[in-house]
């Protein structure tokens, strides 16, 4: 079964099509990696299509004009640690230095908010269900103090979900609860853990069932 799915994956790759998802064995990874390395050398496709580049640009502009299109809502943090998260971000980042500035762009007002933090202190991951559906994002920042931000979208759900942070040594740290309104909620707070040793995070329903989990890259 797995061999057949891998063959289909390779067929799609060779044909320049999007391969279908399947549950791969770890040994498959080496073969697929080699196939990708060879396929990436085929002349032509390594250069982005002009239509794609222009189309993505237009979508980003459109989304910046339509805050409803974003799944990021403005929120307020305690201790004046506030940031207005703008435009077309599918996740929001908050950190030691905040700024809300406006930049003019083709007549449209966009919001550029936060200074890009050093790559080694910022970690992000996506909450996914066991079926692979993305339900939100989590961002941790390893400053002093550290902080965590997450946004969760569970359509048709209200109530709360609990979040626990998983450390690499197997221990867990409660991060807090996310209150959902019309299926959406955010949580932001200071954390006092070594964010470099964080493995991931898990969302639980009130009954204790796992809703989604995220693993930091």
């Amino acid at each position: 079964m797995t061999a057949r799915r891998m063959t289909e994956f390779l067929d799609a790759l060779a044909a320049g099509q999007r391969p279908k998802a399947y549950h791969a064995d770890p040994e498959d990874a080496e073969v697929l990696r080699a196939a990708i390395a060879l396929r990436a050398a085929r002349p032509g496709d390594a250069v982005p299509d002009d239509t794609f580049v222009a189309g993505l640009y237009e979508r980003l502009v459109d989304e910046s004009r339509d805050p409803v299109a974003s799944n990021v809502r403005p929120f307020r943090m305690r201790r004046s640690r506030a940031a207005l998260i703008g435009i077309a971000a599918s996740i929001a980042l908050i950190g030691g230095t905040f700024a809300v500035t406006e930049a003019s762009h083709n007549g449209a007002t966009t919001t550029s908010a936060i200074q890009a933090p050093p790559a080694n202190v910022l970690r992000t991951a996506t909450f996914e269900t066991s079926q692979g559906h993305a339900l939100g994002q989590i961002v941790v920042h390893g400053g002093s103090p550290g902080w965590v931000f997450m946004n969760v979208d569970i359509p048709t759900s209200d109530g709360i979900v609990k979040c626990e942070l998983r450390m690499m040594d197997g221990s867990v740290v409660a991060a807090g609860v996310v209150h959902l309104h019309n299926g959406s909620g955010v949580l932001s707070k200071e954390i006092h853990v070594d964010t470099g040793r964080l493995e991931g995070a898990t969302l639980y329903s009130l009954s204790g069932a796992v809703v989604a989990s995220a693993t930091f890259a």
Binding site: G16, A21, Y22, P48, A92, G96, T101, A113
Partner: protein, 195 residues
């Protein structure tokens, strides 16, 4: 908490001594003037990086889109180009890792924000195709003739398995076995090249 800082891309009249000039945006050569310039300067390179990691255009386009949709909003333009690119790479790393978890459940390729930084800088892209052809060439050159041929037909010349079998005058079943063995050897060669 720190007060909201002034973006460094703007300077007060006292900085210049000229009120009219102060209305103009002073641009540091090492910063971006607006998010459009962030996009224009990085979209091609980011796509190429993603394409090299997934090997197909539809996924590379989707992942590139996801990186920009995730990263552009929170970016502060006063950050240096290096900081912006580092941030884009951290985002790309997460987006790619999530892609593999979602599609295969195992990590096939990855992005290292430090070692892959050159991919987003001018010096990192010698030509439009990047270094993939050279790398593929090294791998193929190390393979036996029949292994090399089946992989060339399939992945460089876009032949179906049936077409490749016909070209090599073997059965389709044999072509599948040959391809699998060739890829296993190519994987080993690839690892040797990296190490």
């Amino acid at each position: 908490m720190s007060p909201v800082p002034e973006p460094s891309a703007f300077r007060s009249p006292s900085d210049t001594g000229d009120h009219d000039a102060a209305r103009l945006r002073v641009v540091d050569a090492d910063t971006y003037t607006d998010w459009e310039s962030v996009y224009r300067d990085n979209v091609n390179r980011l796509y190429r990086l993603m394409y090299a990691r997934v090997g197909n255009r539809p996924d590379a386009e989707d992942l590139t889109s996801e990186v920009f949709r995730t990263a552009l909003g929170p970016l502060r333009l006063a950050s240096s180009k290096g900081e912006v690119r580092s941030y884009l790479l951290v985002t790309a790393q997460t987006v790619l890792a999530s892609h593999w978890r979602r599609t295969l459940g195992v990590s096939v390729t990855s992005i290292d924000p430090e070692s892959d930084l050159d991919a987003l800088t001018e010096k990192g892209v010698p030509d439009e195709e990047g270094d993939a052809p050279q790398r593929a060439g090294k791998i193929l050159a190390a393979l036996p003739e029949r292994y090399r041929r089946i992989l060339e037909l399939r992945f460089l010349e876009a032949c179906s398995i049936k077409e490749a079998a016909s070209t090599m005058e073997i059965t389709v079943s044999n072509a599948k076995v040959l391809q699998h063995r060739a890829l296993r050897m190519a994987a080993k060669v690839g690892l040797e090249i990296e190490s």
